[in-house]
Amino acid sequence: MRPKDLAVSHEDTIIWVSGSIGFDKIPSIFEGSPTMKVVTGVIGNDIHVVANRLMDLSLNARGYEVFNLGVNTHLEEFFDAAVETGADILLISSLNGEAEGWGREVKIHKAKYKSLDGLTMMIGGNLTVGSGNADDIVPRFKNYGFDLVCHQIDLNTGLDMLEAHLQEKLQEESQA
């Protein structure tokens, strides 16, 4: 029994951001710089919530400020939330493989907001319906506009990749 989510409109459907579910904050690894803000959620009609909650917990533990949009989130909502919160990172996840269908529209939506030019874009989870391999999938999603693409990579490895990427970016900015 796992019906797709109920697409019923309601006053609660205004952008909702959860508080932290972490229970011990460790200091940001980016000493001296302000806390990084990350918007995350599961794209499309995808109710797979378990990894989303664990991601929330892990991001908090790693010192990020997390705005979790939860499951069944549409692409527009991600960008609206990124603008609203002034996010540094957008981390989209997908379990049922729907991301493939949404990926093509990423650039169009992002281009609507000038303020999103510096946004780090990451996508992870199971990025295709049926079988596929990372060698095909990663370049395809990079073309859609993602800086980091994690197809079937475990949570902590993915978040390590994010950290390395951000440090590199910070260094580039300080040199520029």
Binding site: M1, P3, D5, H10, D12, S18, N52, R53, L57, N72
Partner: protein, 454 residues
């Protein structure tokens, strides 16, 4: 005309319903064979009733599935409803039913009961003359349960909390309470005509590290919401949790407190049953391992002393099970129940005492909410996080509670959020776990704890 009857006529005036004949349906329920009522089987049978899950789109395939189940000596037949019907999208369900009938491929993941209608479905139910349980997941099940009862389906699963928090992100919870109030009233009304209609709550919730205190509180509240509308037969339920002793303690505390709280609202006369779900979490893909897990669930259900067990299949990890695999589980479960004997009576007074104190504390907080009706108190308690379901996708859920397994695989609360777990109980729960780790290690533990059966 009563307000309920007015509402019923509006609901049944739906364009997908072929002229609902209220008087004829009442006469049918009044004269229905007692074998169709699960409440009758609970009253008269000593054995644990065995019920599988299953629903196919077409009449013929559902009929064939029931033939397999009856051959496997099933006690209770399931009718699982497709996901379009669960979302009240009868138009899509109708289209997909037509496509399923015209081709060999099933275009729906269950039986679209509203589209089939009660006149034809009743023929199937009275043909097999077994009790049937409606399995759905519908927040607004008003039309569905009308058609079900008119078809001879006299057990209705679900509830405003248990069919919403695990399945939906943003269906309004307040509306769900009102839609389910209608369901309770209609069930209560029909229950005066013959044997009672049984209502069953869906205890597994998200089936992901839900602690027994939360499960029991939600079971008790849905029971009370049902009994206060006049339902006379109710099943509380929970799913295998991963630790045998925790299951035994949960079963015992659930039964005792169900009786206690039913008596508090003057409903001692209602019959309360206990239902056990075989493991509802992530299943092993290896079919032989899955069979072993299913068998172990049956043994634990016997230790728990459940009145009914709901089965899984060896194909759980793969997809919708075939009728052959489904019937095989029924036969295997019956076999295990037959050969089990000399079960020891296991008691753990400390665990029982702690769990009972936790449930009482949460229930008290719910009752102390200043709202004027029980459903509003419950609604406010979920909104404020007094009730918090781990891994619920719903926006109203707090997600502040964190649970992990201890070395015995018991589910323990290590962060309580706004849930009023008494201090001494909370200290006990934490003392069972190794918490001298950083959060990343604990997250890794949680991932392991979710997948223990894989």
């Amino acid at each position: 005309m009563s307000q309920l009857q007015e509402e019923r006529e509006i609901i049944l005036g739906n364009e997908n319903v072929d002229s609902f004949d209220f008087d004829e349906v009442r006469e049918f329920v009044k004269g229905a064979d007692e074998q169709l009522f699960i409440s009758h089987h609970f009253d008269t049978k000593d054995k644990m009733l065995v019920q599988p899950r299953g629903g196919f789109p077409t009449y013929e395939k559902q009929f064939a599935l029931y033939e397999f189940f009856v051959d496997a000596n099933v006690d209770v037949l399931p009718l699982t409803i497709d996901s379009n019907t669960r979302l009240n999208d009868y138009t899509t369900a109708k289209k997909m039913l037509r496509l399923s009938e015209a081709n060999e491929i099933d275009m729906l993941n269950g039986y679209p009961l509203v589209n089939h209608g009660y006149r034809s479905t009743r023929k199937m139910m009275t043909h097999f003359n077994h009790p049937v349980s409606l399995r759905h997941g519908t927040p607004d099940a008003r039309l569905l349960i009308e058609i079900a009862i008119a078809s001879g389906i006299f057990e209705i699963e679900g509830g405003p909390i248990t069919y919403l928090l695990p399945y939906s992100k943003n269906f309004p919870l307040d509306k769900a309470f009102l839609y389910w109030k209608y369901v309770e009233r209609v069930c209560a009304d029909y229950s005066t005509l013959n044997k009672p209609i049984n209502r069953e709550s869906f205890g597994p919730l998200t089936a992901t590290l839900v602690p027994p205190s939360i499960t029991i509180v939600i079971q008790l509240l849905e029971m009370l919401l049902s009994l206060e509308e006049g339902v006379k037969s109710f099943s509380v339920s929970f799913a295998q949790q991963g630790s045998m002793i925790q299951d035994i303690v949960t079963g015992k505390v659930t039964r005792a407190l169900a009786k206690h709280y039913a008596a508090q609202i003057g409903c001692e006369d209602a019959a309360i049953h206990l239902v056990y779900h075989q493991w509802m979490g992530a299943f092993p893909t290896n079919r032989d391992s899955a069979d072993q897990l299913i068998n172990m669930s049956t043994v634990i259900a016997s230790m728990v002393g459940a009145d009914k067990i709901i089965t899984k299949t060896r194909e759980e990890a793969v997809g919708i099970p075939t009728k052959e695999a489904n019937a095989q589980t029924v036969a295997n479960t019956q076999y295990t129940l037959n050969i089990l004997g000399g079960l020891p009576a296991i008691v753990d007074e400390q665990e029982e005492e702690i769990l009972t104190a936790e449930v009482h504390a949460i229930m008290e907080a719910v009752f102390n909410d200043p709202a004027d009706t029980l459903w509003r108190k419950v609604f406010n308690s979920i909104k404020s996080g007094v009730i918090d379901v781990p891994f619920s996708p719903h926006i109203i859920n707090h997600n502040e509670m964190i649970t992990i397994r201890d070395a015995q695989k018991n589910i323990r609360i290590i962060k309580r959020g706004n849930v009023p777990i008494p201090d001494r109980c909370f200290e006990y729960e934490k003392s069972c776990c190794d918490l001298n780790k950083d959060t990343t290690s604990i997250v890794n533990d949680i991932i392991q704890d979710i997948g223990i059966m894989q």
